[in-house]
Symmetry: C3
Subunit: 406 residues, 3 copies
């Protein structure tokens, strides 16, 4: 069992502060334990007994009505600068983040936030997950993630179940002390008798008035047995960020093409094409990042003119891989790129096991994930983020792999 | 890509009027776009600012409670003469139409209007659709219809998905001008990432005080690629219309038995038997209709005494086939006949492709379907409908096919 | 077709009284027929126009909110002495029964009362039933029960569908005459077109102030054809009743180990081990009981000190078998034993048919099931129950079978 050391450094300290910080007041949005489900309502600083501080912020709970999204719970954190739309009903996925002319998200052909009760993951030989694929951030896992197919007589459905499990407990917390960080915590249980027994606890938080937000997630194995598990943060970008000439940068140690089509343009994997007119195949790259001195890998994506972008970092002790999914298909079919930190690559679980990439989590063990995203809304911010990555890459070179065998 | 010419003629003109007619007022019953879902309420002429005209009509929105139908949305158009029960939650299917001692519908062993969230189409090797089969009119399609089974590695589930997709937008419209036609429009999206991307827009409309109603449907392919697709209007008749000696008539060009059991009584396919005591197998006939000068095929079904019946016509450019399904099973098991206009026959998609009957819809293309039904509530009306079909059949003969090979 | 004779004797008379007894008033909690679904409310003796009699009782209807149990209907009968939690949404299963320091139920790793709409029975090669396995009493059946696998080309999903079908009609009835027995009746329909057409009508009843409650269930075949069917009352015990040294007793005629692991400790099948630390396999025994003069088999389970226990009896004309499932797994994984009266054993339907154990129910036939449970809350009650079973066993011996072949 690999032991996940607690990361030392600035971010780790921040996390530590998050864990022990004084909370002004806690608001329960939904709770299985207390049999609570709040309907439509907006909360502001006054509801938490704190001053609005640097920005006029709010948290709004909505229930969606009609069509395939009937009954879906939505929570919008508006920190005064950016809005973060979180979907408790879909495993605390994030629909989109937007502000200052920038959107984290994409235009999927699936337009609605489909209720999990409308989705059959077994459908279409295990591709049912695609019936509801529309969010900016979809977590994949936890018992398995990756491509559908057989693993020891079981059909692994595409990307696992966690995105289709409603959160059992959802709570807003606001820091008592300035700058009054706003947090939304959700508890999602993936469990079946004689099988998986995992708890994902996620806290999505942001400081009022900032362009930054982060995930502080933990996965706990409640079973008395060690278990294989997979985690993939399937974050999908398009909107203002993806176009011909858009560029992805990162602290990359190694790149391996996942499929033949990707192998053909390995050397330009960091640069994006325009959307196809009719149809284009996917290019997937398996990236092994390296970390800064605090244990974080750094990545970014920016548009052609480098005027808008997004940067993010994550702890590679728990998330040692990043999958780059280039889907330069038509706009109608969903032009998008996924930049997906994970603890494996997205092949079927049976393949990842064979490649020695399938981790285990011990009985009772808890593993922590930290991912922080910043919206870069002008050339200066893009340049700064790029400079940081360039600095880390100085003196290093990328190892180019051959097409992954399967 | 076959081009669907706009049909010239009286009906086409009516359709054209429908498209460009002045609307008194529009009432939204549910909308994903506007996050609206109206609960129980009845609307009358006054709500639309029009006079009640020739008949005292109403439109009622109900939400069903309890059992397998909990949460199902139902809309009842009562035009003063007939009631039409439409189910937005089930792809705008029609539960039944009734008035003047006549019912379009049947007594399925499935008694409830089962919510799609209670149905697993994959169930029972792809027969899950039968768990909720109870309506008068069930649309089948759109990515595929027909019998379950493999097509290129995918399980085609019986009759496709469209009947189990809730409408995203549902609107009542009433014509400003007399006779104040009442319309219910629903938008249903069948979509998955990297797959189907179809929109069905259906308008079910009737004139106050009439015995007639119609479907003005369109199917649009939102993808950037041409796509195979299937459409079948699975309309099921029993109640006052089906008994020993009931008779189906139509503008029939060719008849081919679908199965061996059907082949044995090919020459009497237009006449019905009494329900079986214990059990009877199905007889299915593949019918190729011909059209009148306006492009419409005409069919009817009447009871033994020819005192009650139903007549209908549909545009054969988009619906070139009709499947006759004779299920002369026991009353307990669901004595019923289906008269089903479609763009293919009901074998598995792989078979229809092989037979050259599987159509494609172009990228961005929209195809229109018009079906008009009339309740024939006395011998005179039955006789008139019969005379019209006889007139069209004059001088023609039916081509009898052999059992369909599969 | 085996004919099920009406059982003669005390219990039968009581049943007869139940059927013809005068009802003070009937309260509808939910009804498909009447389009009713009562939200949160508590009913007491006054609501039925009767005196509170020997105990201060109530019936409470709750709707659960949040997570996987959002929308689940729960009815709690508090008879003044014990509380019975019934789940209409899950086929009238019983979550738990508790009172006087004793609980019928267990600690499943599945903590929530999962809504059937969140369950895909096909999942995991037909093991989807385990995603929601948490109740004290789960009925299995009716078209099939038992282990998943193929039967004539159909996937039999684990333990069938009845636990995942919401009741269509739910009614509280209270006897007009003292002791004012409280009954909850539910109607659950398992039906698909061209397939199963069964109705389960269950009445769960208790006398105010008593430690006893019972099931008076009927299964009716609404089809015009005779049908195979399976019924298993999957009752699961742990909490205060299961520990190292707990003991099961019963009117046992024959015992056969179901699996190899069970065969190894056949002679101690009546005694339980402590929960495993990490993991333990299941031991399953196929028990053929014998009946008392009134047609009832008697069983009991008590803790190591014989200070707490449960006793129950059931009619063996309709329930000729009992499956003992010893799951001495870790507490985290769900330490539990099932004592499961049934009309077959829990192998796949195809195997039970081969073994001559798969019964049929005639067209239109109704079969009755009576099961009565008593909470034994002190050593005296345990001793009395044990004495009754010992008396019945006097002069008899158990036939020990070999491992069941499959």
């Amino acid at each position: 069992m690999k032991h996940y050391l607690f990361v030392i450094g600035a971010f780790a300290l921040a996390t530590s502060c998050l864990m022990h910080r004084a909370i002004a007041k806690e608001v329960i949005l939904s709770s299985v334990e207390k049999n609570i489900l709040v309907d439509d309502r907006t909360y502001t600083a006054g509801d938490f007994g704190v001053s609005a501080a640097s920005a006029d912020w709010s948290v709004t709970k909505t229930t969606l009505r009609g069509g395939m999204q009937n009954g879906v719970e939505l929570v919008t954190i508006d920190n005064g600068e950016i809005e973060i739309e979180i979907i408790p009903t879909r495993g605390m996925n994030v629909m989109c983040v937007r502000g200052n002319g920038l959107t984290l998200g994409w235009d999927s052909p699936v337009k609605e936030i489909v209720h999990p009760r409308n989705v059959n993951l077994n459908y279409n030989s295990g591709l049912g997950w695609l019936d509801s694929f529309t969010e900016w951030m979809v977590r994949c896992g936890l018992e398995y993630s990756g491509h559908p197919g057989d693993d020891n007589g079981r059909l692994m459905t595409l990307h696992g179940r966690i995105a289709h499990i409603p959160a059992s407990e959802v709570t807003i917390k606001v820091d008592k002390l300035s700058p009054h960080r706003i947090s939304l915590t959700g508890v999602v249980n993936e469990v079946w008798f004689k099988g998986a027994n995992f708890t994902l606890e996620t806290t999505i938080s942001t400081v009022p008035g900032s362009n930054t937000f982060r995930f502080d997630d933990t996965v706990t194995n409640n079973s008395s047995q060690d278990k294989e598990f997979q985690v993939l943060y399937h974050a999908n970008f398009a909107k203002e960020l993806l176009e011909k000439g858009s560029r992805m940068e990162g602290t990359i140690s190694e790149v391996q093409p996942f499929n033949n089509y990707a192998a053909k343009s390995l050397d330009t994997h960091q640069i994006y094409d325009a959307p196809a007119k009719v149809w284009a195949d996917e290019k997937v790259y398996q990236i092994t990042p390296f970390a800064d001195q605090d244990g974080f890998a750094h990545f970014m994506l920016h548009n052609q003119k480098a005027g808008k972008g997004v940067s993010f970092h994550f702890n590679i002790d728990a998330l040692p891989y990043l999958t780059q999914w280039k889907n330069e298909d038509s706009r109608e079919n969903g032009y998008v790129t996924g930049l997906e930190p994970g603890n494996t690559f997205p092949a079927n679980r049976s393949h990842e096991r064979k490649m020695g990439r399938l981790p285990k989590i011990g009985a009772g063990e808890t593993i922590s994930y930290q991912l922080e995203y910043s919206l870069l809304t002008n050339p200066k911010e893009v340049k700064l983020a790029r400079a940081k990555i360039d600095q880390l890459n100085k003196g290093r070179s990328i190892k180019w792999g051959k097409k992954a065998e399967r």
